[in-house]
Protein backbone atom coordinates (compact mmCIF):
# COMPACT_ATOMS: atom_id res chain seq x y z
CA UNK A 1 0.00 0.00 0.00
CA UNK A 2 1.46 3.38 -0.94
CA UNK A 3 0.73 5.80 1.85
CA UNK A 4 -0.06 9.49 1.88
CA UNK A 5 0.28 9.96 5.63
CA UNK A 6 2.60 8.12 7.98
CA UNK A 7 2.45 8.73 11.72
CA UNK A 8 4.96 7.29 14.18
CA UNK A 9 4.52 7.32 17.97
CA UNK A 10 2.51 10.53 18.00
CA UNK A 11 1.61 12.00 21.37
CA UNK A 12 -0.17 15.27 21.95
CA UNK A 13 -0.48 16.68 25.42
CA UNK A 14 -2.00 20.03 26.24
CA UNK A 15 -2.08 22.19 29.37
CA UNK A 16 -2.09 20.46 32.77
CA UNK A 17 -0.66 17.30 31.19
CA UNK A 18 -3.95 16.43 29.57
CA UNK A 19 -3.20 13.80 26.98
CA UNK A 20 -5.28 14.23 23.81
CA UNK A 21 -3.59 11.71 21.53
CA UNK A 22 -1.76 8.70 22.89
CA UNK A 23 0.98 6.88 21.00
CA UNK A 24 -0.61 6.98 17.55
CA UNK A 25 0.93 4.88 14.80
CA UNK A 26 -0.92 5.09 11.51
CA UNK A 27 -0.42 4.76 7.79
CA UNK A 28 -3.11 6.11 5.46
CA UNK A 29 -3.54 4.87 1.88
CA UNK A 30 -3.10 7.15 -1.12
CA UNK A 31 -5.97 8.07 -3.44
CA UNK A 32 -8.83 6.97 -1.19
CA UNK A 33 -11.59 8.49 0.89
CA UNK A 34 -10.52 7.97 4.48
CA UNK A 35 -12.99 8.40 7.33
CA UNK A 36 -11.85 9.44 10.80
CA UNK A 37 -14.81 8.15 12.75
CA UNK A 38 -15.41 8.53 16.46
CA UNK A 39 -17.53 10.30 19.05
CA UNK A 40 -17.14 14.00 19.85
CA UNK A 41 -14.05 14.59 21.96
CA UNK A 42 -12.32 11.44 20.70
CA UNK A 43 -9.36 13.39 19.31
CA UNK A 44 -10.28 13.46 15.60
CA UNK A 45 -9.83 17.21 15.19
CA UNK A 46 -6.53 17.16 17.09
CA UNK A 47 -5.28 14.36 14.84
CA UNK A 48 -6.39 16.29 11.75
CA UNK A 49 -4.75 19.50 12.93
CA UNK A 50 -1.53 17.59 13.58
CA UNK A 51 -1.63 16.16 10.04
CA UNK A 52 -2.14 19.57 8.40
CA UNK A 53 0.56 21.04 10.63
CA UNK A 54 -1.48 23.64 12.46
CA UNK A 55 -0.73 22.11 15.86
CA UNK A 56 2.48 21.55 17.77
CA UNK A 57 2.98 17.91 18.61
CA UNK A 58 4.46 16.76 21.92
CA UNK A 59 6.41 13.80 20.54
CA UNK A 60 6.56 11.51 17.52
CA UNK A 61 6.61 12.33 13.83
CA UNK A 62 4.14 12.81 11.00
CA UNK A 63 4.99 12.58 7.31
CA UNK A 64 2.58 13.74 4.62
CA UNK A 65 3.49 12.92 1.00
CA UNK A 66 6.96 12.13 2.30
CA UNK A 67 7.45 15.57 3.91
CA UNK A 68 7.18 16.52 7.56
CA UNK A 69 3.63 17.65 8.36
CA UNK A 70 3.27 21.41 8.12
CA UNK A 71 6.36 21.91 5.99
CA UNK A 72 6.34 24.67 3.39
CA UNK A 73 6.41 22.21 0.48
CA UNK A 74 2.98 20.89 1.50
CA UNK A 75 1.14 24.20 1.44
CA UNK A 76 0.10 23.76 -2.20
CA UNK A 77 -0.54 20.03 -1.83
CA UNK A 78 -2.67 19.83 1.30
CA UNK A 79 -5.90 21.72 1.93
CA UNK A 80 -7.83 21.92 5.15
CA UNK A 81 -11.45 22.67 5.89
CA UNK A 82 -11.84 23.27 9.60
CA UNK A 83 -14.88 22.33 11.65
CA UNK A 84 -15.79 26.00 11.93
CA UNK A 85 -16.62 27.28 8.46
CA UNK A 86 -13.37 29.29 8.23
CA UNK A 87 -14.76 31.81 5.77
CA UNK A 88 -15.49 35.51 6.06
CA UNK A 89 -19.23 36.01 6.64
CA UNK A 90 -18.96 39.73 5.91
CA UNK A 91 -17.61 39.15 2.40
CA UNK A 92 -19.43 37.85 -0.67
CA UNK A 93 -18.85 34.32 -1.93
CA UNK A 94 -16.75 35.72 -4.77
CA UNK A 95 -14.66 37.96 -2.48
CA UNK A 96 -13.96 35.00 -0.20
CA UNK A 97 -12.86 32.78 -3.04
CA UNK A 98 -10.73 35.44 -4.74
CA UNK A 99 -8.94 36.19 -1.46
CA UNK A 100 -8.09 32.56 -0.78
CA UNK A 101 -7.11 31.98 -4.44
CA UNK A 102 -4.65 34.90 -4.12
CA UNK A 103 -3.31 33.49 -0.85
CA UNK A 104 -2.46 30.29 -2.72
CA UNK A 105 -0.18 32.36 -4.95
CA UNK A 106 -2.25 31.89 -8.11
CA UNK A 107 -1.70 34.57 -10.76
CA UNK A 108 -4.34 37.22 -11.49
CA UNK A 109 -4.81 35.94 -15.04
CA UNK A 110 -5.73 32.49 -13.73
CA UNK A 111 -7.94 33.72 -10.88
CA UNK A 112 -11.15 34.33 -12.86
CA UNK A 113 -10.98 30.91 -14.53
CA UNK A 114 -10.37 29.11 -11.23
CA UNK A 115 -13.09 31.13 -9.51
CA UNK A 116 -15.68 30.08 -12.08
CA UNK A 117 -14.56 26.46 -11.91
CA UNK A 118 -14.87 26.43 -8.11
CA UNK A 119 -18.31 28.09 -8.19
CA UNK A 120 -19.54 25.51 -10.70
CA UNK A 121 -18.02 22.71 -8.68
CA UNK A 122 -19.97 23.56 -5.53
CA UNK A 123 -23.02 24.79 -7.45
CA UNK A 124 -22.89 28.38 -6.21
CA UNK A 125 -22.46 30.35 -9.46
CA UNK A 126 -25.76 32.15 -8.92
CA UNK A 127 -24.74 33.15 -5.39
CA UNK A 128 -21.31 34.62 -6.25
CA UNK A 129 -22.20 38.18 -5.28
CA UNK A 130 -24.17 37.38 -2.14
CA UNK A 131 -22.75 38.01 1.33
CA UNK A 132 -21.86 34.72 3.00
CA UNK A 133 -23.83 35.88 6.04
CA UNK A 134 -27.00 35.74 3.96
CA UNK A 135 -26.48 32.16 2.78
CA UNK A 136 -28.00 29.02 4.28
CA UNK A 137 -25.73 26.80 6.40
CA UNK A 138 -25.44 24.29 3.57
CA UNK A 139 -24.39 26.99 1.12
CA UNK A 140 -21.82 28.33 3.62
CA UNK A 141 -20.46 24.80 3.96
CA UNK A 142 -20.07 24.67 0.17
CA UNK A 143 -18.17 27.98 0.12
CA UNK A 144 -15.81 26.53 2.70
CA UNK A 145 -15.44 23.37 0.64
CA UNK A 146 -14.73 25.39 -2.51
CA UNK A 147 -11.80 27.02 -0.72
CA UNK A 148 -10.44 23.59 0.16
CA UNK A 149 -10.51 22.70 -3.54
CA UNK A 150 -8.37 25.63 -4.74
CA UNK A 151 -5.24 24.49 -6.59
CA UNK A 152 -6.46 20.85 -6.84
CA UNK A 153 -4.67 19.61 -3.73
CA UNK A 154 -3.38 16.06 -3.47
CA UNK A 155 -4.72 15.70 0.07
CA UNK A 156 -8.01 17.31 1.12
CA UNK A 157 -8.68 17.25 4.86
CA UNK A 158 -12.27 17.98 5.86
CA UNK A 159 -13.21 18.21 9.52
CA UNK A 160 -16.89 17.27 10.04
CA UNK A 161 -17.94 18.70 6.64
CA UNK A 162 -21.48 17.33 6.79
CA UNK A 163 -22.40 18.11 10.37
CA UNK A 164 -25.77 19.81 10.72
CA UNK A 165 -26.71 19.41 7.05
CA UNK A 166 -29.94 17.93 5.80
CA UNK A 167 -29.73 14.43 4.26
CA UNK A 168 -30.19 15.70 0.68
CA UNK A 169 -27.29 18.11 0.95
CA UNK A 170 -25.19 15.53 2.76
CA UNK A 171 -25.75 13.10 -0.10
CA UNK A 172 -24.78 15.80 -2.64
CA UNK A 173 -21.55 16.49 -0.77
CA UNK A 174 -20.68 12.81 -0.62
CA UNK A 175 -21.17 12.58 -4.38
CA UNK A 176 -18.72 15.47 -4.72
CA UNK A 177 -16.24 13.77 -2.34
CA UNK A 178 -16.42 10.56 -4.37
CA UNK A 179 -15.90 12.55 -7.55
CA UNK A 180 -12.79 14.21 -6.08
CA UNK A 181 -11.46 10.84 -5.01
CA UNK A 182 -12.01 9.44 -8.52
CA UNK A 183 -9.99 12.36 -9.89
CA UNK A 184 -7.02 11.28 -7.80
CA UNK A 185 -7.24 13.35 -4.61
CA UNK A 186 -7.00 11.65 -1.25
CA UNK A 187 -9.66 12.79 1.20
CA UNK A 188 -9.60 12.61 4.98
CA UNK A 189 -13.09 13.22 6.32
CA UNK A 190 -13.89 13.25 10.00
CA UNK A 191 -17.33 12.43 11.27
CA UNK A 192 -19.01 11.35 14.44
CA UNK A 193 -21.73 9.70 12.39
CA UNK A 194 -21.25 5.95 11.96
CA UNK A 195 -23.62 6.07 8.93
CA UNK A 196 -21.02 8.01 6.98
CA UNK A 197 -18.36 5.37 7.63
CA UNK A 198 -19.88 3.09 5.00
CA UNK A 199 -19.22 5.76 2.34
CA UNK A 200 -15.45 5.66 2.95
CA UNK A 201 -12.84 3.42 1.34
CA UNK A 202 -10.77 3.25 4.52
CA UNK A 203 -11.70 3.78 8.16
CA UNK A 204 -9.83 5.02 11.18
CA UNK A 205 -11.88 4.56 14.33
CA UNK A 206 -10.83 6.93 17.11
CA UNK A 207 -11.82 6.87 20.76
CA UNK A 208 -10.30 8.54 23.83
CA UNK A 209 -7.24 9.68 21.90
CA UNK A 210 -6.42 6.20 20.61
CA UNK A 211 -6.86 4.46 17.27
CA UNK A 212 -9.00 1.40 17.83
CA UNK A 213 -9.11 0.31 14.17
CA UNK A 214 -7.55 1.35 10.85
CA UNK A 215 -8.65 -0.75 7.89
CA UNK A 216 -11.18 -0.96 5.05
CA UNK A 217 -14.86 -1.24 6.02
CA UNK A 218 -14.98 -4.79 4.62
CA UNK A 219 -11.96 -5.88 6.66
CA UNK A 220 -13.39 -4.23 9.78
CA UNK A 221 -16.78 -5.91 9.45
CA UNK A 222 -15.20 -9.30 8.75
CA UNK A 223 -12.68 -9.06 11.60
CA UNK A 224 -15.32 -8.08 14.15
CA UNK A 225 -18.03 -10.32 12.67
CA UNK A 226 -20.35 -7.32 12.52
CA UNK A 227 -23.02 -6.13 10.15
CA UNK A 228 -22.48 -2.41 10.65
CA UNK A 229 -19.57 -0.13 11.54
CA UNK A 230 -21.46 0.95 14.65
CA UNK A 231 -21.64 -2.65 15.79
CA UNK A 232 -17.91 -3.07 15.09
CA UNK A 233 -17.16 0.08 17.04
CA UNK A 234 -19.18 -1.13 20.03
CA UNK A 235 -17.50 -4.54 19.94
CA UNK A 236 -14.02 -2.99 19.74
CA UNK A 237 -14.77 -0.60 22.60
CA UNK A 238 -16.25 -3.46 24.61
CA UNK A 239 -13.10 -5.56 24.07
CA UNK A 240 -10.91 -2.76 25.40
CA UNK A 241 -13.00 -2.07 28.52
Amino acid sequence: MSSIVKINNLNITVARNLSILKNINLELPLGQTIGFIGPSGAGKTTLIRAIVGSLKISSGEIFVLGQRAGSKELRHKVSYMTQELSIYPDLTVKENLIYFITMMGISKSETEKILQKLLDRVDLSDKANILVNNLSSGQKQRVSLAIALIDSPELIVLDEPTVGLDPVLRQKLWLLFNDLSRQGSTLIISSHSMDEASKCDYLVLVRDGKIIAAETPTELLRRTSSKTVEESFLKLVGDKE
Binding site: S54, L74, R75, T82, E84, S86, I87, Y88, L91
Partner: protein, 244 residues
Protein backbone atom coordinates in the same frame (compact mmCIF):
# COMPACT_ATOMS: atom_id res chain seq x y z
CA UNK B 1 6.99 38.09 2.23
CA UNK B 2 4.74 38.62 -0.79
CA UNK B 3 3.55 42.14 -1.63
CA UNK B 4 0.59 40.72 -3.55
CA UNK B 5 -0.62 38.68 -0.55
CA UNK B 6 -0.07 41.59 1.85
CA UNK B 7 -2.07 43.97 -0.34
CA UNK B 8 -4.78 41.35 -0.90
CA UNK B 9 -5.08 40.95 2.87
CA UNK B 10 -5.34 44.73 3.23
CA UNK B 11 -8.04 44.84 0.54
CA UNK B 12 -9.91 41.97 2.17
CA UNK B 13 -9.92 43.66 5.61
CA UNK B 14 -11.12 46.91 4.01
CA UNK B 15 -13.83 45.05 2.06
CA UNK B 16 -15.05 43.46 5.30
CA UNK B 17 -15.34 46.90 6.86
CA UNK B 18 -16.96 48.29 3.71
CA UNK B 19 -19.85 45.86 4.21
CA UNK B 20 -20.21 47.07 7.81
CA UNK B 21 -21.48 50.59 7.25
CA UNK B 22 -22.34 51.23 10.89
CA UNK B 23 -18.76 50.57 12.01
CA UNK B 24 -17.44 52.82 9.25
CA UNK B 25 -19.76 55.59 10.38
CA UNK B 26 -18.67 55.17 14.01
CA UNK B 27 -14.97 55.23 13.08
CA UNK B 28 -15.24 58.41 11.05
CA UNK B 29 -17.97 60.34 12.83
CA UNK B 30 -17.36 59.72 16.54
CA UNK B 31 -13.93 61.43 16.90
CA UNK B 32 -14.95 64.76 15.28
CA UNK B 33 -18.23 64.73 17.23
CA UNK B 34 -16.34 64.16 20.49
CA UNK B 35 -13.93 66.97 19.65
CA UNK B 36 -16.85 69.28 18.93
CA UNK B 37 -18.50 68.39 22.26
CA UNK B 38 -15.19 69.01 24.02
CA UNK B 39 -14.96 72.42 22.39
CA UNK B 40 -18.19 73.40 24.13
CA UNK B 41 -17.21 71.66 27.38
CA UNK B 42 -14.37 74.18 27.52
CA UNK B 43 -16.63 77.01 26.36
CA UNK B 44 -14.86 80.26 27.10
CA UNK B 45 -11.54 78.48 27.81
CA UNK B 46 -10.33 78.15 24.26
CA UNK B 47 -6.67 77.93 25.34
CA UNK B 48 -7.36 74.72 27.29
CA UNK B 49 -9.26 73.22 24.36
CA UNK B 50 -6.53 74.26 21.91
CA UNK B 51 -3.91 72.42 23.95
CA UNK B 52 -5.98 69.25 24.51
CA UNK B 53 -7.56 68.79 21.07
CA UNK B 54 -4.34 67.96 19.13
CA UNK B 55 -3.34 65.47 21.83
CA UNK B 56 -6.67 63.71 21.37
CA UNK B 57 -5.86 63.38 17.70
CA UNK B 58 -2.92 61.21 18.77
CA UNK B 59 -5.14 59.19 21.11
CA UNK B 60 -8.36 58.55 19.10
CA UNK B 61 -6.75 56.56 16.26
CA UNK B 62 -4.80 54.42 18.69
CA UNK B 63 -7.82 53.57 20.83
CA UNK B 64 -10.16 52.90 17.91
CA UNK B 65 -7.71 50.82 15.91
CA UNK B 66 -6.78 48.90 19.06
CA UNK B 67 -10.42 47.97 19.61
CA UNK B 68 -11.25 47.17 16.01
CA UNK B 69 -8.08 45.25 15.22
CA UNK B 70 -8.26 43.20 18.43
CA UNK B 71 -11.85 42.19 17.72
CA UNK B 72 -11.31 41.50 14.02
CA UNK B 73 -8.18 39.46 14.74
CA UNK B 74 -9.94 37.60 17.52
CA UNK B 75 -12.69 36.71 15.03
CA UNK B 76 -10.02 35.55 12.62
CA UNK B 77 -8.58 33.29 15.31
CA UNK B 78 -11.89 31.92 16.62
CA UNK B 79 -13.62 31.42 13.26
CA UNK B 80 -10.85 29.16 11.98
CA UNK B 81 -9.86 31.43 9.08
CA UNK B 82 -6.44 32.05 10.62
CA UNK B 83 -5.82 28.30 11.03
CA UNK B 84 -6.87 27.78 7.43
CA UNK B 85 -4.62 30.59 6.19
CA UNK B 86 -1.68 29.15 8.09
CA UNK B 87 -1.97 25.93 6.08
CA UNK B 88 -1.64 28.02 2.89
CA UNK B 89 1.48 29.60 1.38
CA UNK B 90 0.75 33.01 3.02
CA UNK B 91 3.44 34.04 5.52
CA UNK B 92 2.73 35.45 8.98
CA UNK B 93 4.35 38.69 7.82
CA UNK B 94 1.93 38.99 4.87
CA UNK B 95 -0.98 38.53 7.24
CA UNK B 96 0.20 40.92 9.94
CA UNK B 97 1.39 43.68 7.64
CA UNK B 98 -1.80 43.32 5.59
CA UNK B 99 -3.75 44.11 8.73
CA UNK B 100 -1.41 46.89 9.82
CA UNK B 101 -1.67 48.54 6.40
CA UNK B 102 -5.47 48.29 6.34
CA UNK B 103 -5.93 49.87 9.74
CA UNK B 104 -3.28 52.51 9.11
CA UNK B 105 -5.23 53.53 6.01
CA UNK B 106 -8.44 53.73 8.02
CA UNK B 107 -6.50 55.71 10.62
CA UNK B 108 -5.37 58.09 7.88
CA UNK B 109 -8.93 58.71 6.69
CA UNK B 110 -10.12 59.11 10.26
CA UNK B 111 -7.33 61.61 10.91
CA UNK B 112 -8.14 63.48 7.67
CA UNK B 113 -11.75 63.98 8.76
CA UNK B 114 -10.98 64.69 12.42
CA UNK B 115 -8.11 67.08 11.71
CA UNK B 116 -10.25 68.76 9.03
CA UNK B 117 -12.92 69.43 11.66
CA UNK B 118 -10.34 70.39 14.30
CA UNK B 119 -8.26 72.73 12.16
CA UNK B 120 -11.03 74.04 9.94
CA UNK B 121 -14.30 74.20 11.88
CA UNK B 122 -13.04 74.31 15.46
CA UNK B 123 -10.18 76.66 14.56
CA UNK B 124 -7.47 74.94 16.59
CA UNK B 125 -3.97 76.10 15.71
CA UNK B 126 -1.32 73.47 15.14
CA UNK B 127 1.92 75.19 14.22
CA UNK B 128 3.37 72.03 12.65
CA UNK B 129 0.56 71.95 10.09
CA UNK B 130 -1.77 69.34 8.65
CA UNK B 131 0.83 66.97 7.16
CA UNK B 132 2.66 66.49 10.45
CA UNK B 133 -0.66 66.03 12.25
CA UNK B 134 -1.66 63.32 9.78
CA UNK B 135 1.70 61.54 10.03
CA UNK B 136 1.41 61.26 13.80
CA UNK B 137 -2.23 60.17 13.65
CA UNK B 138 -1.35 57.39 11.18
CA UNK B 139 1.55 56.23 13.35
CA UNK B 140 -0.79 56.23 16.36
CA UNK B 141 -3.29 54.08 14.47
CA UNK B 142 -0.44 51.72 13.44
CA UNK B 143 0.45 51.45 17.14
CA UNK B 144 -3.18 50.73 18.09
CA UNK B 145 -3.40 48.05 15.38
CA UNK B 146 -0.18 46.37 16.53
CA UNK B 147 -1.26 46.33 20.17
CA UNK B 148 -4.69 45.04 19.16
CA UNK B 149 -3.19 42.22 17.08
CA UNK B 150 -0.99 41.20 19.97
CA UNK B 151 -3.56 41.38 22.77
CA UNK B 152 -6.21 39.53 20.74
CA UNK B 153 -4.18 36.37 21.34
CA UNK B 154 -5.07 36.53 25.04
CA UNK B 155 -8.82 36.98 24.59
CA UNK B 156 -11.19 34.07 24.28
CA UNK B 157 -14.23 36.19 23.47
CA UNK B 158 -15.08 39.62 22.12
CA UNK B 159 -16.22 40.57 25.62
CA UNK B 160 -12.71 39.84 26.93
CA UNK B 161 -11.13 41.73 24.02
CA UNK B 162 -13.12 44.83 24.96
CA UNK B 163 -11.99 44.45 28.58
CA UNK B 164 -8.39 44.79 27.40
CA UNK B 165 -9.15 48.39 26.66
CA UNK B 166 -9.42 49.45 30.33
CA UNK B 167 -6.59 47.05 31.16
CA UNK B 168 -4.05 48.08 28.48
CA UNK B 169 -5.12 51.48 27.22
CA UNK B 170 -6.72 53.35 30.13
CA UNK B 171 -3.60 53.27 32.35
CA UNK B 172 -1.63 54.75 29.43
CA UNK B 173 -4.32 57.35 28.91
CA UNK B 174 -4.14 58.42 32.56
CA UNK B 175 -0.38 58.92 32.59
CA UNK B 176 0.30 60.07 29.00
CA UNK B 177 0.23 63.77 29.87
CA UNK B 178 -3.28 64.53 28.68
CA UNK B 179 -4.63 65.48 32.12
CA UNK B 180 -1.46 66.77 33.76
CA UNK B 181 2.15 67.22 32.64
CA UNK B 182 4.05 63.97 33.17
CA UNK B 183 6.77 65.55 35.32
CA UNK B 184 4.10 66.68 37.82
CA UNK B 185 3.01 63.12 38.50
CA UNK B 186 4.33 60.83 41.26
CA UNK B 187 7.73 59.35 40.35
CA UNK B 188 6.57 55.73 39.89
CA UNK B 189 3.89 56.96 37.49
CA UNK B 190 6.49 58.97 35.55
CA UNK B 191 8.58 55.81 35.18
CA UNK B 192 5.51 53.92 34.06
CA UNK B 193 4.60 56.67 31.56
CA UNK B 194 8.18 56.63 30.23
CA UNK B 195 7.81 53.03 29.08
CA UNK B 196 4.33 53.42 27.60
CA UNK B 197 4.00 54.21 23.86
CA UNK B 198 0.96 56.47 24.15
CA UNK B 199 3.07 58.99 26.13
CA UNK B 200 5.30 59.45 23.08
CA UNK B 201 2.38 59.69 20.68
CA UNK B 202 0.89 62.48 22.83
CA UNK B 203 4.34 64.12 23.19
CA UNK B 204 4.66 64.15 19.41
CA UNK B 205 1.29 65.88 19.08
CA UNK B 206 2.34 68.42 21.73
CA UNK B 207 5.52 69.08 19.76
CA UNK B 208 3.74 69.85 16.51
CA UNK B 209 1.22 72.03 18.32
CA UNK B 210 3.91 74.38 19.56
CA UNK B 211 6.68 73.99 16.95
CA UNK B 212 6.35 74.91 13.31
CA UNK B 213 9.47 73.03 12.23
CA UNK B 214 10.27 69.34 12.53
CA UNK B 215 12.71 69.02 15.43
CA UNK B 216 14.79 66.12 16.71
CA UNK B 217 12.50 65.67 19.74
CA UNK B 218 9.61 65.00 17.38
CA UNK B 219 11.74 62.52 15.44
CA UNK B 220 12.68 60.76 18.70
CA UNK B 221 9.01 60.53 19.78
CA UNK B 222 7.94 59.15 16.41
CA UNK B 223 10.78 56.62 16.29
CA UNK B 224 9.88 55.38 19.79
CA UNK B 225 6.20 54.94 18.86
CA UNK B 226 7.19 53.12 15.65
CA UNK B 227 9.58 50.83 17.54
CA UNK B 228 6.85 49.99 20.07
CA UNK B 229 4.44 49.24 17.22
CA UNK B 230 6.94 47.01 15.40
CA UNK B 231 7.80 45.24 18.67
CA UNK B 232 4.09 44.58 19.29
CA UNK B 233 3.73 43.27 15.72
CA UNK B 234 6.66 40.88 16.22
CA UNK B 235 5.13 39.72 19.52
CA UNK B 236 1.79 39.38 17.73
CA UNK B 237 3.35 37.16 15.07
CA UNK B 238 4.69 34.82 17.78
CA UNK B 239 1.11 34.23 18.93
CA UNK B 240 0.19 32.82 15.50
CA UNK B 241 1.13 29.18 15.54
CA UNK B 242 2.37 27.36 12.51
CA UNK B 243 4.78 24.52 11.95
CA UNK B 244 7.43 24.52 9.27
Amino acid sequence: MSLNRTISTTKRVLSQLKHDKRTIALIFIVPPVLLTILKYVFDGQSQVFDSIAPMLLGIFPMIMMFLISSIVTLRERSSGTLSRLMTMPISKTDFIFGYALAFSLIGLFQALITSGVMLGLLRVTVLGGTIQTLIIAVIASFLGTSLGLFTSAFARSEFQAIQFMPAFIFPQLLVCGLFIARNNMAKPLQWFADIMPLSYSVDAMKQITIMSNWGHVLTKDIVIVLLFAIFALVLGSTTIHRKG
